[in-house]
């Protein structure tokens, strides 16, 4: 029986599957890369060949350029692909459109690299699919027991109640351009909000991509084409624009921010957020524990976040757990 470390190794670029000759989400340009999803701390330019879900390929080409990799190989979900002695299969991770877990089978052993994931159903992407395995390599963005997200519909309810209570103000919601923005749009429409929703220009390209992939978000208007004020309306913008000169054109805005980090008051205060919305595209602590247990994996590697508490807890649950320090992953909230 070989150890997982014998065929899944850490190089300077990140996690490397030796028998397959490829990296997963490498932080530097490599010959072959399997990419879990299109966020910039996972998907980077300059690889020789990129394997990913068709949606992730589209995202990468739109964001990084059509020639940002030597070759793009779109791989449909659940379709096995054998490379050398390794079989690769992609499964939905439920994080954003096109996000995938990477299942690797080698000599009777099965490892699943989760990428970023969440269990909560999301109208804008396929639901996480549980894959039983022997080794689970999990993210740990919200790896502390204090992190329990709110039900997303409840937070949207709070947002809409606030819009009603303060009709003379604009509600300005900071969110990341890929994933969170589109999920918020979908959730708002599902909650029955049918007014036009205003977007900062930086959010346009990924929203258009989602629409091109068959999703619809009702009437959207660019702020640059809408003029000033927008009292009583909802505006989405990237987090950097919340306290920027750009926001000065809006009517006494209520600054909202949709992120799992809003669970902690100090974070919300730091960002000057008036209406924190605890909505996240990552698994929270209970979901992390539950998912890991459900996979049945005896061995767990923890990456990308707060590893210490999770490794400790997994140890108490009788698992062999260790933290994987991967370069190029920021310690704090790069994307959420």
């Amino acid at each position: 029986m070989i150890a997982f470390e014998d065929w899944l190794q850490l190089t300077e670029a990140g996690l490397y599957c030796a028998p397959g000759g490829f990296h997963i989400d490498p932080s530097r340009p490599v010959d072959r890369a399997v990419i879990t999803h299109g966020h910039s701390d996972h998907a980077r330019p300059g690889h020789g060949a990129v394997l990913a879900t068709p949606e992730t390929v589209k995202v990468m080409q739109a964001r990084l350029g059509e020639d940002s990799a030597g070759r793009f190989q779109p791989q449909p979900l659940n379709d096995p692909l054998t490379h050398g002695d390794v079989t690769i299969r992609l499964h939905p991770a439920g994080h954003i459109l096109g996000s995938a877990q990477i299942e690797l089978t080698y000599r009777g052993q099965r490892a699943v690299v989760s990428g970023d994931y969440k269990r909560t159903p999301d109208p804008t992407c396929a639901l996480f699919e549980l894959v039983p395995c022997d080794l689970f390599v999990t993210e740990a963005t919200f790896g502390l027991p204090v992190f329990r997200h709110e039900p997303d519909w409840r937070e949207i309810g709070r947002l809409l109640a606030s819009v009603q209570a303060f009709p003379e103000r604009t509600h300005l919601i900071g969110c990341y351009g890929l994933g969170k923005c589109q999920r918020l749009l979908a959730l708002l429409r599902r909650a029955g909000y049918d007014r036009p929703i205003y977007l900062h220009g930086a959010l346009k390209s990924m929203t258009d991509l989602y629409i091109a992939c068959g999703q619809s978000f009702g009437e959207l208007v660019l702020v640059s084409e809408a003029g000033r004020g927008l009292a009583g309306e909802i505006v989405l913008c990237p987090p950097s624009a919340l306290k920027d000169r750009w926001s000065r054109r809006l009517a006494d805005p209520v600054t909202a921010f949709a992120s799992g980090w809003m669970r902690v008051r100090g974070r919300a205060r730091q960002r000057g957020v008036e209406l924190p919305l605890v909505i996240s595209d990552h698994a929270d602590w209970p979901q992390l524990i539950e998912t890991i247990a459900e996979t049945g994996a005896e061995e767990v590697w923890v990456t990308h976040g707060r590893e210490e508490a999770l490794v400790y807890q997994l140890g108490r649950m009788g698992k062999r757990a260790r933290a994987l320090a991967l370069l190029g992953r920021e310690d704090e909230e790069a994307e959420d």
Partner: protein
Amino acid sequence: MKAFAALLDRLVYSPGRNTKLQLMQEYFRTTPDPDRGWALAALTDGLPFSFPVRRTIVELMNKRLDAELFRLSRDYVGDTAETVALLWPDTEAQGDPPRLSEVVSRLGLIDAQELGDVIASWLDRLDATGRWALLKLLTGALRVGVSARLAKTAVAGMAGHSVDDVEEVWHALSPPYQPLFDWLEGHAERPDIAGAPVFRPLMLAHALEDSELADLDIGEFSVEWKWDGIRVQIVAGRGEVRLYSRTGDEIGASFPELISMFRFDAVIDGELLVLRDGKVAPFNDLQQRLNRKSVTRAMLERYPAHVRLYDALLIDGEDLRPLPFIERRRRLERWHAEVRPPRTDVSELIAVADKEELHRIWRETRGAGIEGLMLKRRASPYLAGRPRGHWYKWKRAPITLDCVLMYAQRGSGRRSSYYSDYTFGAWKELPDGSLELVPVGKAYSGYTDAELIVLDRWIRNNTVERFGPVRAVRPALVLEVAFDAVQRSTRHRSGVAMRFPRIHRIRWDKPAEEAERLDTLVGLIEG
């Protein structure tokens, strides 16, 4: 508790005054009695309890979660109460959240031993926000950025009343303030305040404008010094004494030497000061006495309190407010000569022959404890609020000094995208003869909107270092800073702090090397 928790949660995050008022009004309008009365008590520091929450909840938490996970969580969040509110196992199946009135009444009867179990049972019935609010409530200090006066303003505004209307009856009532809400909602008469040592709304002054001064007939006005202390109202009678601040807060607990000595039946207006050997001490000294829950003998000796009286509203049950000022003064002086309450004196009136003399006196006012002049119309009755044309305040000309801009911080609320808060410094001479710039104050007002835009741009273009929301700039921009006085400060590296600094002018023309020396400021320190 659900609505109360949601209110506190939103209040904590909202910087704007109007938003806070709207939130509170909506809460008071839609919440039943007595819960809303208890909420009002909580917001006005009127809850009678305060518990050692931290110890209790740490014990409770340790029974419910692994110690290491608790430790890691606490380290991350940084606040024990918040951590517990987040970590507490979610068992919403335990029943409906408790009502605020249930919580308050239970806490009024609780035993030290049962505290833990009772708190645990409530925490089980609440969600994360509810738990956080409950723990805040237990500490006795909400700290949600709402003053007692703002809460009263919200309640009053619910029914179109002014905060003064509410202040008038406030001290005759106790939580949960049912008679107050009944009256405000039109179901009952105004609560009867007869005999209760209630606060009466103050008569306030306008800042004197040049045009008004020009038109003024000096013969119609009485002139006195504007004392640099705290405006207070002494309400005494039937064995009770209250010392109220300008906003109707009771501050008597911090001044026991006054409260214990006032044995008379009157409502008097005056200035609270620290008086030493007949001289008024700097405001900084009075500040050492404020907000103290208990006072030591040393405090009493070092900072002896005194009230300089200047108006009488009621004497021996007779309401003097309809009388002209000059008549009230005569009554005040006569009463004071008879009763001679210790630690008080009457503010002297200044004889002024004409406007020239008035100007001269004003120019030369720089005595101990004097902020400027007060002009009170002799014929005016005592009117609540700030009616125009009756009382004027004329603060002495501020001192201005040229200082160098050192740091700029982003403002809050509407100004959060501008660098609007400025820390400026003066030159300190070091032992080796070289000069070092040290911070002497911080100001965020005094400039126009147009100047703010220019300053903001200059700061962005001249940043040498960034620390979060703060930028350190090249020491090249001189600001003329106006301020009232200089105090000693242990907080600033320079050892000095300015009182009420504001940006008077931007001195684009002045080179930074020619800005003020620290020595100049030190020389201006009062006392």
